[in-house]
């Protein structure tokens, strides 16, 4: 009985989390521009392939997410390793700086960067967007890698060095495999945050460089075009399918190795 209550609690929360997503997917097949069900259609998907500006927004969203999450992962991972070696007071300062973007309102990160770019006259565009995304996502990478570093046995690394490994080789063979899960989780979160961000991008975008979020917001006057729902549905389904396929493959491998 208790386990039933527990399970239903989890299920209810999942339903609440995913209900709007289901609705959005449904409306990508809706035969009307307004969110009122008027019958099934695939026309929004067809329109998506003809609408260059939506494709462009999608492209920029992905380019920015790839570059910024990659950079944030590299910078963040090394930063976590460095911070981990610091003495307590230095560590405190570094971690507090890391927590600032995490706790500051998006809107303040957005406008403060906008002011910086305006003051140094850096033209708004792809570079400003990428820089701002790296800035707000790096702390998440650091926080995701940090615990793995703490769990790691540092003696292993020393031992590798004693056995004649170069520092780089020792890093590759000893440290990296240990912190890998944290790095990947960090990269995934950085990528996701970049795709989902609106506020920071809104204040730092440039000519012709709109992300999907900005596109959605700018449609506010005329109504969010269901083409957006269509492209979001495709993005969401793609990630789900990829994760499922991976999961099945891994499970198969597992069951195979178990039967052997």
């Amino acid at each position: 009985m208790i386990s039933f209550i527990k399970k239903s609690y989890v299920v209810i929360i999942l339903i609440i989390m995913y209900a709007p997503i289901a609705l959005l997917m449904l409306f990508s097949f809706n035969n009307s521009k307004l969110p009122i069900w008027k019958g099934f259609t695939l026309s929004w998907y067809a329109k998506m392939f003809n609408d260059a500006s939506i494709q462009q927004a999608f492209m920029y969203t992905i380019i920015i997410a790839i570059i910024s999450s990659f950079a944030a992962t590299v910078i963040g991972t090394f930063a976590a390793m460095g911070i981990n070696r610091m003495v307590s007071w230095q560590k405190n300062i570094a971690m507090n700086i890391t927590y600032i973007p995490l706790l500051s309102p998006d809107i303040i990160i957005g406008i403060s960067l906008m002011m910086l770019f305006s003051v140094i006259k850096l033209p708004f565009g792809l570079p400003t967007l990428i820089v701002s995304h790296i800035t707000f996502s790096t702390p998440y990478v650091i926080l995701s890698v940090m615990p793995k570093l703490k769990q790691m046995d540092y003696n292993l690394y020393e031992a590798a060095l004693d056995l004649g490994a170069t520092p780089w080789y020792a890093f590759k063979k000893v440290i990296f495999p240990e912190i890998m899960p944290g790095v990947i989780a960090g990269a995934f979160i950085a990528f996701t945050l970049s795709i989902d961000d609106f506020v920071v991008s809104f204040f730092n975008k440039g000519a012709g460089v709109d992300t999907l979020s900005i596109k959605i917001y700018s449609m506010a006057r005329k109504g969010v075009n269901p083409t957006i729902n269509a492209i979001s549905t495709i993005m969401f389904s793609t990630i789900i399918i990829i994760l499922l396929v991976m999961n099945i493959k891994v499970n198969k491998k597992l069951s195979k190795s178990q039967t052997k």
């Binding site: 609690y9 997503i21 930063a79 070696r85 600032i100 500051s104 309102p105 406008i111 790096t138 615990p147």
Partner: protein, 270 residues
């Protein structure tokens, strides 16, 4: 390969893109047309701005409490040995972000409206429809919905790290479930709870989109006021001053968190 100098690129990056921009906000908040002034801060003393700040704090506080009450049991269920699969849980919590948050909040608008899906369901089972939208309730709902993951993750993380032998020891010493929870589990999970509270309270305090999309525009929170200064009124000075007031709140919480050591005792996000 494993030295503190590895952190330098990041620290330089943080100095340029986090610290300097914040100093710029400080500068803009004190200067008007090139001369020093505290006018921007004085302006905030108007009673309707203070009212907006108080209301923001109220709503953020209520949503944080709701998040905590809902997230703690969930984190306990998930951290149960039989259900532990950290990756999948993390994924389930993070995945909704692959559907744009503006779109999702927008979708709640159409689910909750007076003639929306949920009220139609209520009508179908002969219940009176409820006005969910256009008010404090809807804004609180939106905050809880959007920031809930940030409460679940840290609590889940500390709960996973609690040594099960401590709990067993408590039972062996004759403590019942409630006592064990009160005396062992709860105190040990405090770092996660503190992180969670901060991670929910701060964005809730400063949101401007949720009020716009679900609050029917009837509620103006502090975030809306800042946004308006930068996108509509073009009053950078006043916008910066209000931002500074928020940043002071951020710094106080940061100091509070460091004191509680919630960051170092495993109360992190992941």
């Amino acid at each position: 390969m494993h030295r503190k100098s590895l952190a330098y690129p990041y620290l330089i990056w943080a100095a340029i893109f986090i610290v300097v921009p914040l100093l710029l906000i400080v500068y803009f908040s004190f200067f008007k047309d090139g001369s020093f002034t505290i006018q921007n801060y004085q302006k905030f003393l108007e009673d309707y701005y203070i009212k907006a700040l108080i209301r923001s704090i109220e709503l953020a506080f209520i949503s944080t409490v709701i998040c905590l009450v809902m997230a703690y049991p969930l984190a306990m269920i998930l951290s149960d040995k039989h259900m532990t699969n950290k990756q999948i849980i993390l994924l389930l919590v993070v995945l909704p972000m692959w559907m744009n948050s503006l779109l999702r909040t927008y979708a709640w608008g159409s689910l909750l409206e007076n003639n929306g899906v949920i009220n139609s369901m209520l009508k179908a089972v002969q219940l009176a429809p409820i006005t969910f939208l256009y008010g404090n309730g809807a804004v609180i709902f939106g905050m809880v919905y959007n920031f809930f993951p940030f409460m679940v993750l840290p609590i889940y993380n500390v709960l996973c790290k609690i040594d099960p032998s401590l709990i067993e020891a408590s039972y062996d010493l004759g403590a019942d479930k409630v006592t064990t929870f009160r005396k062992v589990i709860l105190p040990l999970s405090m770092p996660g709870v503190v992180t969670g509270i901060v991670m929910v309270f701060m964005p809730a305090l400063t949101t401007f989109l949720i009020t716009r999309l679900l609050g029917g525009g009837k509620i103006n929170l502090i975030g809306n006021i800042i946004e308006e200064q930068f996108t509509r009124t073009n009053n950078f000075g006043f916008g910066s001053a209000v931002s500074m007031i928020l940043m002071i709140i951020v710094l106080i919480t940061l100091a509070f968190m460091s004191k509680k050591d919630s960051l170092d005792k495993g109360g992190g996000l992941f």
